[in-house]
């Protein structure tokens, strides 16, 4: 589905990414790992359309594409960022539909928010994700896992084909991490491709089909999770093993 071919990214004199190849298929979870500054965020931002790569090609469904934030969305690429970007003071449903509110026409003319429809659709999305999040609850009162569900439900609203998850399990409790991993498995079952950026080795091993390791802008490993081990990945990240 998504294919990067020898993608490079240069910021002035800094080579953030060098000659990186990457593929993510439908229903596949690719775990992207690496130390701080290895180029994970840069790669994610290229796929989300925030950065244009300075070299290499980006292919979507086999065809070359020029990604912008808008065109990425139109192709079906949705990013869920680490800080989650939710409005704490609004309900779950209001956050899911923020900026794309559903409205109906009162007396055939006056546009008013269609609270019932938004509540119904959000509830469906939360059920699909297997989350106990309630549409009317304020985000302020939610657990980290529920907040993640709201952010993912918002991204799911447009039925994306590829989701970019940036550290979805950072800064939440152990029980909530299990919830989030369950969300990711649910998305995978529905055929959504996932590019998962995470620092947490155990999470990546729990849900990823493939593990991709970046070190100083280069891809040093790209192999099925079953054929790797946390020890090997740690060694790859730190440079104790050159490549695998």
């Amino acid at each position: 589905m998504l294919e990067l071919k020898s993608v490079g990214m240069r910021f002035g004199a800094v080579e953030a990414l060098l000659d990186v190849d990457l593929e993510v298929g439908a229903g596949e979870v690719a775990g992207l790992m690496g130390d701080n500054g290895a180029g994970k965020s840069t790669l994610l931002k290229i796929v989300a359309g925030n950065f244009a790569p300075t070299s290499g090609r980006v292919l979507w469904g086999g065809a070359d594409v020029d990604l912008s934030p808008l065109s990425a969305r139109e192709l079906g690429i949705e990013a869920v960022y680490q800080d989650l970007a939710l409005c704490d003071n609004l309900s779950a449903a209001a956050n899911v539909f923020l900026g794309r509110e559903l409205s109906r026409r009162l007396f055939g003319i006056l546009p008013v928010l269609d609270h019932a429809a938004m509540r119904r659709r959000s509830t469906e999305l939360f059920e699909e994700l297997g989350s106990d999040t309630r549409a009317d609850d304020l985000v302020r009162r939610m657990s980290g896992g529920q907040r993640q569900a709201v952010a993912i439900a918002r991204a799911r609203l447009s039925s994306p084909r590829l989701m970019l998850l940036d550290e979805p399990t950072a800064a939440i409790s152990v029980r909530q991490i299990a919830e989030v991993l369950e969300l990711i498995r649910g998305l995978k079952e529905q055929g959504v491709g996932i590019l998962l950026v995470s620092h947490r080795m155990s999470d990546v091993f729990a849900v990823a089909d493939r593990i991709v390791v970046l070190r100083r802008g280069r891809k040093v490993a790209d192999k099925p999770t079953a054929e790797s081990s946390p020890e090997e990945v740690t060694a790859l990240i730190t440079g104790a093993i050159e490549a695998a």
């Binding site: 800080d83 970007a85 003071n89 923020l98 900026g99 794309r100 509110e101």
Partner: protein
């Protein structure tokens, strides 16, 4: 206790208004007289109307300090245009146009140039008041031309036992309540106040939302000024001086959160009612009117303390 803490602040304020009114009608005979009730309700209508706009501004995390001065400018312009022999419709349009201009300047500077709302509207507080002085040449305007009776009837008259401004406030408050609940713009107002970055990422036109609330706030201040000069029968450039405090106090007491993201129409009206009731009670109890500022200012601080206590419970 938990559910009590979660009850909307407007409910608490309404209960406080009722309790204070109950006590006052027991201890002060003139309080419950129809004349006094009529006066109190009319006085709070002017403030309540502006507090509706201020609530929307505060809900975005902003503040509009210029409303009192915008009243002065809009009032003077309306008065002078009327005095030159023009019809009320034209004069009111001129007054509202001045208010609109002030709102557009405030909103554009805050929304598009991202200047601090506090500083921008503090500047406008001084500019609009100064313009009112310049335009009026510091004279009182009390000759309102051929439409004088119409103006005096509009602002000073009554309908079915209530002062006209009170009717206008009721209509505006119902409209504002529906707006807060059902409009996409109001949803965006709360989103901008709650988390601006998130709102922007979700595609909310943040700058335009900001512009709109400052324009609304100024227009309501202008409308209130026109009604007020009809009631007073004259206008000086000091019209609305110091009102920003009472308006902001009303909005905050009614539950608008100065950090943004919260606020509602009924709260603003209930807050305005409480402020006016406190003022009226102090007068009737024979407290020196010099103390009024201390009580109004103190009530803002108390409202914020109450809000803090409520917040820690959730």
């Amino acid at each position: 206790m938990k559910s009590l803490r979660r009850a909307p602040q407007s409910l608490w304020v309404t209960l406080t208004v009722a309790a204070l009114a109950g006590v006052m009608s027991l201890v002060s005979e003139p309080f419950a007289s129809s004349d006094n009730i009529f006066n109190v309700s009319r006085n709070f209508a002017f403030i309540g109307l502006i507090a509706l706009g201020q609530t929307a501004v505060i809900a975005t995390g902003g503040i509009d300090l210029s409303v009192g001065s915008v009243m002065g400018l809009a009032g003077i312009v309306t008065g002078l245009v009327l005095g030159s022999g023009q019809p009320l419709v034209l004069a009111a349009a001129a007054g509202l146009a001045c208010a609109l201009l002030c709102g557009v300047v405030n909103g554009a500077l805050v929304g598009y140039l991202r200047l601090s709302p506090f500083v921008v509207t503090l500047g406008m507080l001084s500019i609009a008041r100064s313009l009112a002085l310049v335009i009026s040449n510091n004279r009182m305007v009390h000759d309102f031309g051929p439409d004088e009776d119409l103006l005096l009837g509009l602002g000073g008259g009554r309908f079915l036992g209530l002062a006209n401004p009170v009717w206008l406030l009721l209509v505006a408050a119902l409209g504002a309540a529906a707006w807060f609940r059902y409009s996409r713009l109001a949803r965006h107002v709360l989103a901008v106040g709650g988390n601006e970055v998130s709102a922007r990422l979700a595609g909310v036109p943040v700058a335009r939302v900001r512009l709109t609330v400052y324009v609304l706030s100024s227009l309501l201040a202008g409308a209130s000024a026109i009604l007020m000069i009809g009631w007073l029968g004259a206008v000086t450039n000091a019209l609305g001086q110091g009102y920003e405090l009472r308006v902001i106090a009303s909005a905050v007491i009614g539950g608008a959160n100065l950090m943004g993201g919260e606020g509602g129409a009924f709260g603003a009206v209930a807050g305005a009612a409480l402020i006016e009731l406190i003022r009226n009670s102090l007068l009737l109890l024979g407290v020196d009117p010099y103390w009024q500022g201390a009580f109004v200012g103190g009530s803002i601080v108390v409202a914020m303390l109450v809000e803090r206590v409520r917040r820690t419970g959730r």
